[in-house]
């Protein structure tokens, strides 16, 4: 009896694992992947990484890890965050392909590139 119960539990666990695997596998809707933004850290008055490549319509999120404010400003005016306080975040979803240079206007030496394919 105990053996049957153990097998039953194992079967349920296996089914659950298969169900979860189907949800995050290749067959999952593209929108699931798009919810997780590509992260760019602002740390030590630098953007990390300083060049990033993302597909069009894929969100990008900057997080300020410095103890003072920064902003994220497209040199050509495509996007601009407010001044991000420590631990502040800015999310942008590029709707068109291209190469977008951006800076922190508070620290003009901070430069980086967002490449959208």
């Amino acid at each position: 009896m105990r053996k049957v119960t153990t097998m039953g539990v194992a079967a349920i666990v296996l089914l659950l694992l298969l169900a979860i695997g189907r949800g995050v596998g290749h067959g999952a809707p593209a929108t699931v992947d798009r919810k997780s933004a590509q992260a760019i850290a602002i740390d030590g008055a630098r953007f990390h990484p300083d060049t990033i490549v993302v597909p069009v319509n894929h969100p990008v999120e900057w997080v300020n890890h410095d103890p003072y404010p920064h902003n994220v400003t497209s040199s050509a005016g495509h996007f601009r965050s407010a001044n991000l306080t420590p631990n502040g975040r800015f999310r942008f979803t590029p709707a068109k392909r291209g190469t977008f240079e951006y800076v922190c206007t508070l620290h003009p030496g901070m430069k980086a590139v967002l490449r959208v394919q």
């Binding site: 740390d43 008055a45 103890p67 003072y68 404010p69 508070l106 003009p108």
Partner: protein, 173 residues
């Protein structure tokens, strides 16, 4: 004995010769130096924020207040966490008196003369603080977290130096 960083002689400041020499600072002394170095630039920034004529100089001063206050907050949180009590020392005292002298000298100026003197001092000050961070403070720090903090805030001084030089160049046009 070892030669202390030249930033104690920064810009308009006059420093007592005795303060030029001191032993390699310990962590408690480094904490005091870091907090004082930031506070000195906060004080000068506040003056520039209220007194500068040029918009870029005024904005730079405001940014110095914001950035160095942020760094000091983080430094204070760290030393509190580590149980390190900042220990006053000759370098910190020289920074303090040099900063007071600088503010006093700047207070007697106005208009373009103030803007130029302030930004010239900021260029020299940040360069000298960077030298001190690289040659004395980081190599001397014993606690790993304190050393990590110094390494983390170092780029801010680099960014400020670059920014100050840009403003200085713009004023010269």
């Amino acid at each position: 004995m070892r030669l202390m960083p030249s930033f104690v002689l920064s810009g308009l400041a006059l420093v007592a010769p005795a303060a030029l020499y001191a032993q390699q600072p310990n962590d408690a002394q480094i904490a005091a130096i870091v907090v004082t170095a930031n506070q000195v630039d906060i004080d000068a920034g506040k003056l520039a924020e209220s007194k500068a004529d040029n918009a870029q100089v005024k904005a730079f001063g405001r940014q110095m207040v914001t950035d160095h206050s942020g760094v000091n907050k983080q430094a204070t949180e760290l030393v509190t966490k580590l149980g390190v009590k900042p220990e006053d020392n000759a370098t910190a005292q020289s920074l303090k008196s040099g900063g007071a002298d600088n503010v006093k000298a700047l207070s007697s100026l106005s208009g373009a003369a103030f803007d130029k003197a302030y930004i010239d001092h900021e260029v020299a000050y940040h360069q000298q603080v960077l030298d001190a961070v690289d040659k004395t403070l980081i190599p001397s720090a014993q606690n790993a977290e304190l050393k990590a903090l110094l390494e983390k805030v170092r780029p801010a001084f680099v960014a400020h130096l670059e920014h100050a030089k840009q403003v200085q160049q713009a004023l010269g046009r």
